[in-house]
């Protein structure tokens, strides 16, 4: 599914990722942990195609290099990023945004666009399944949403867009227990042997609900340790000091 080889990235001449290797197979769920500023969000941004980085190395998605592919094309190919800080877009209705987004993705996949009625049915069903209050859907996109509401909205979008690779950048940070369960539910209900996940988190807690196949530690722009879910528990106790 995803293959990253010797990825180096810098911004304004500042090196952030310094030779990162990672392979995620279909059906696998990988967690990435690591100290603040180690480059986790940078990795997520680069995978999604964000501009502004100087990049070398290989980046393959489903056997195809995506290095030269635009953000929207990658999204249409099935890469989804739940943002660490979801953006507010004033004046844009959340429902409407989601519908436009879903239809762009569907169009790119050669599927029929959904009319308003079928879309509303789908979103009603999905938010009910996840236990997300529909109230946010009629509001302006992320404007005035609480931190938790923003994150739930990201998960709802992930569910609706049904991506092949979902990247969650600290979606669990700042969430109460119930909200964390919603995030976990979003992931677990999507999870199957064809879909892959890259979950960036600082806390073991989320991983209690979604069992990762691998846990990686990212430090100073490199993966310095890889293990299975026990590694996360260990880190929770000892911190990152021992690893460095």
């Amino acid at each position: 599914m995803l293959e990253i080889k010797d990825l180096k990235a810098s911004i304004n001449k500042k090196a952030i990722l310094k030779g990162l290797n990672l392979t995620i197979k279909p059906g696998e769920l990988h967690a990435i942990m690591g100290p603040n500023g180690s480059g986790k969000s940078t990795l997520a941004n680069i995978l999604s195609g964000k501009e502004g980085y100087e990049i070398s190395g290989e980046l393959n998605f489903n056997g195809e290099s995506i290095k030269e592919i635009s953000v929207e094309k990658r999204a249409q190919k099935g890469i989804f990023l739940a943002f660490q800080y979801p953006l507010e877009i004033p004046g844009v209705n959340t429902n409407n945004f989601l519908k436009t987004s879903l239809n762009s993705v569907r169009k790119a996949r050669g599927e029929k666009e959904l009319d308003t009625l079928s879309f509303l049915k789908l979103i009603k069903k999905t938010s009910y399944e996840l236990g997300i209050d529909e109230g946010i859907l009629s509001r302006q996109l992320n404007v005035g949403f609480s931190g938790g509401e923003k994150k739930k909205n990201e998960i709802l979008q992930m569910k609706i867009l049904n991506p092949k690779l979902s990247i969650l950048d600290e979606t669990d940070s700042g969430l109460d227990i119930d909200a964390i369960k919603i995030v976990a539910k979003g992931v677990n209900t999507l999870r199957n042997d064809k879909k892959s996940f890259l979950i960036i988190t600082h806390y073991q807690r989320l991983l209690d609900y979604i069992k990762p196949d691998f846990v990686h530690v990212l430090s100073h722009g490199k993966i310095v340790k890889t293990g299975c879910s026990e590694l996360a528990q260990e880190l929770e106790k000892t911190g990152y000091k021992k690893i460095n």
Partner: protein, 478 residues
Amino acid sequence: MKQQTLEKSKEYKYGFVTDIESVKAPKGLNEDVIKFISKIKKEPKWMLDWRLKAFSRIQNMKEPNWQKPKYPKINYQDLYYYSAPKSVKDKPKSLDEVDPKLLETYKKLGIPLKEQEKLSGVAVDAVFDSVSVATTFKDKLTEKGIIFCSISEAIQKYPDLVKKYLGSVIPITDHYFATLNSAVFTDGSFVYVPQGVRCPMELSTYFRINASDTGQFERTLIIADKGSYVSYLEGCTAPMRDENQLHAANVELIALDDAEIKYSTVQNWYPGDKNGKGGIYNFVTKRGACRGKNSKISWTQVETGSAITWKYPSCILQGDNSVGEFYSIAITNNYQKADTGTKMIHLGKNTKSKIISKGISAGYADNTYRGLVDINKKALNSRNFTQCDSLLMGNKCGAHTIPYIKNKNHTSVVEHEATTSKINEEQLYYCNQRGLNQEEAIGLIVNGFCKEVLQQLPMEFAVEAQKLVGISLEGSVG
């Protein structure tokens, strides 16, 4: 800004020319041409005298030059002041008599007059160059006593109303373009809504410039009698031409006691090509008088076309408790220039005005909001709220906000807020990540930015206007 090749931006969709034989006045601005116009329109003598009075005044007037966009000198002697399709010698009585070529033209513009009469609830007056070629739904309106016809027809059929109100809001000698219009105006719409009547449908005029070297001088007059209500919308397009063409309109609105007029414009004149060649000079005077107590006039404009837009739809709040509103979106791309805003003149007590202006500038364009809020000494307890937001795309365009505020009494309050921002790259990235391409993303964000204004538009037009907002900015990034 994101470097990526965009799909070749779509050409201006309305840029075609209708091949139709026309009757023209000889080129040039002189008494004979004015007499020609007046004669061909079978006007009474008082109307001709009115025109000639304006013409005599214009000799000593100068074009305004305080506005920001400058333009090469216009040779007023090198223009045609009247051009009309030959087939419209006498205005057709019904749609069946209208030249099929004209019906086809309006169909291509998205206004299928014949179908529309059956399907949608909008009455249309279609103005082609200098004449009105068709007005729909006349019968249904007549039942309610509403008059909706071309101004030429009104001058013949309702001289008392025209005499009483024409020039009563925009005096003949107001300024150069208004005076020029008074001398040579050709067609436009006339609306009268009688006392206590709520107009049951949207009224709309569609202006089309077709002939070359021709100025269009539209004149519209709307009167809402006591306790009445009317919502009116105008749309406009023109062919793509390398030379600039002049559109100098005068629009006057009069609202009597407890009456309300809602006037919306979707202006999509040809903006010129991406290098700034050609396009319409849109020099327009629009003014409404809230003459009666508790009356209300609301202007909504979506200005996306024209090489230069120069207009300030204004409200004179004479009646006590009267309300004036101005909602504006002005989008300039490539080399377009806009200098637009409003004047709110508070004369009556407890008068209120609200100004919401959204300026969007891209490419090498320049966008100015210029507005006056003038609260008279006697206009006690009056209020104004002004919000001007500018959005810039790229760093070669300009946005300016020039508010003039005169508050001459102590019981009135004026609030002014202004913001200028660049289109937010992170917002674009977020939209792109959800599968929207650059243009969809910009369309979405800009529509969000303009929402307060868009939602003022009648439903039938809001969707079209939203699309237009997106299209006007095509090719503005990359």
